[in-house]
């Protein structure tokens, strides 16, 4: 099915996705069980995990489906919940556009975790970057759909539910942030991103802090990045 070059990309990508295997299976199972508990047929969580592929938004969608019909409202709410993806796209313009025919799939599957790995990892020598990004994205997508499917079909058979295992996603992002930190020569951008988001969270609260944080980050980073480019030239 895959050629030698693709196999080497798979081998390079797989270890990076192991924490996500744990996290997505766990959260996916929780999502499947949740949907069934709300009275949905298993096909709902299975197809929603496959096509929406944005974890927190899928939980929100479950509630949307139980309230009044409001398609425009659903669209606008999704834009707000997922606005952070705009930053991922702006960060990955060159890398994903250079990936050839898998590029649309990479963009479709750009969840928090796939973005974090693909943005921060230095692809090993001899491995095609496009293939590496593809396998990271595909594996993460498969883990999530597998989790939701297991939860939807077999959730009621599970003997226990491991409390706190979802912390694996937080731990993963902390490690990815640290790796990027250790790689960066100056930490201005990381500190601006974290600091302004924290301030925004304290001011606006956990339901509506992301968009003000993004605007603040852009207002600071755009002039700053131009200034830095100017210094280099």
């Amino acid at each position: 099915m895959f050629n030698v070059k693709q196999k080497s990309a798979f081998k390079a990508a797989f270890p990076y996705t192991l924490p996500i295997l744990t996290g997505f299976l766990f959260l996916g199972i929780a999502y499947g069980i949740y949907m069934i508990s709300l009275g949905f047929s298993p096909i709902f969580p299975i197809l929603m995990s496959l096509f929406i592929f944005a974890g927190s938004m899928e939980f929100v969608t479950a509630n949307l489906l139980l309230s009044g019909f409001n398609p425009i409202g659903a669209f606008l709410l999704t834009l707000m919940v997922n606005a952070r993806h705009l930053f991922y796209g702006l960060s990955m313009l060159d890398k994903y556009q250079a990936a050839g025919k898998v590029s649309p799939y990479l963009i479709f599957g750009m969840c928090d975790e796939s973005f974090s790995i693909n943005a921060s990892t230095t692809v090993p020598l001899g491995v095609s970057a496009g293939d590496f990004y593809f396998f990271v994205t595909l594996l993460n997508h498969l883990y999530w759909v597998a989790g939701a499917t297991i939860g939807a079909l077999f959730g009621s058979l599970l003997p226990f539910y491991p409390q706190g295992l979802d912390f694996v996603m937080t731990a993963l992002l902390v490690v990815i942030f640290l790796e990027q930190w250790l790689k960066d020569k100056d930490h201005q951008s990381a500190l601006i991103g974290m600091g302004l988001t924290l301030i925004s969270l304290l001011i606006f609260g956990s339901d509506r802090f992301v968009i003000p944080a993004m605007i603040a980050i852009l207002l600071v980073l755009i002039p700053l990045s131009r200034q830095k480019e100017g210094l280099k030239e």
């Binding site: 924490p19 929406i52 592929f53 952070r84 750009m110 960066d184």
Partner: protein, 108 residues
């Protein structure tokens, strides 16, 4: 909601998500020169976006009630400590997660 209305709602959520993911690539396609300030921004934005994401993960911690976010903060500190010490991604993540699970089930 009828089943048709539910399907329409799901399609709208898919469209919304895809808009947030595809928009930058539609605005700045490969065959056209990307404005200079977007190129400059693209170089510094990943670190800032990862910083935003770390806070996003911890957004539901309530410092004023319950266990005051102490288990989360201890476990995050442990992840950082392990990672600086050993620089092994899987070890840091599994160690931190294990500690967190112990903390919330045994201590808090």
């Amino acid at each position: 909601m009828t089943t048709t209305q539910q399907i329409i709602t799901i399609v709208m959520v898919v469209l919304g998500t895809m808009t947030t993911r595809f928009l930058p690539f539609i605005l700045f396609p490969a065959n056209k020169e990307t404005p200079h300030f977007i190129q400059s921004l693209g170089k510094v934005l990943p670190s800032a976006a990862l910083g935003l994401l770390v806070i996003y993960c911890l957004k539901d911690i309530n410092l004023l009630a319950g266990n005051h976010g102490i288990p989360e903060l201890i476990a995050v500190a442990f992840v950082v400590f392990l990672h600086v010490l050993k620089r092994n991604m899987l070890l840091s993540i599994s160690g931190g997660t294990f500690l967190y699970m112990v903390l919330i089930s045994v201590v808090f």
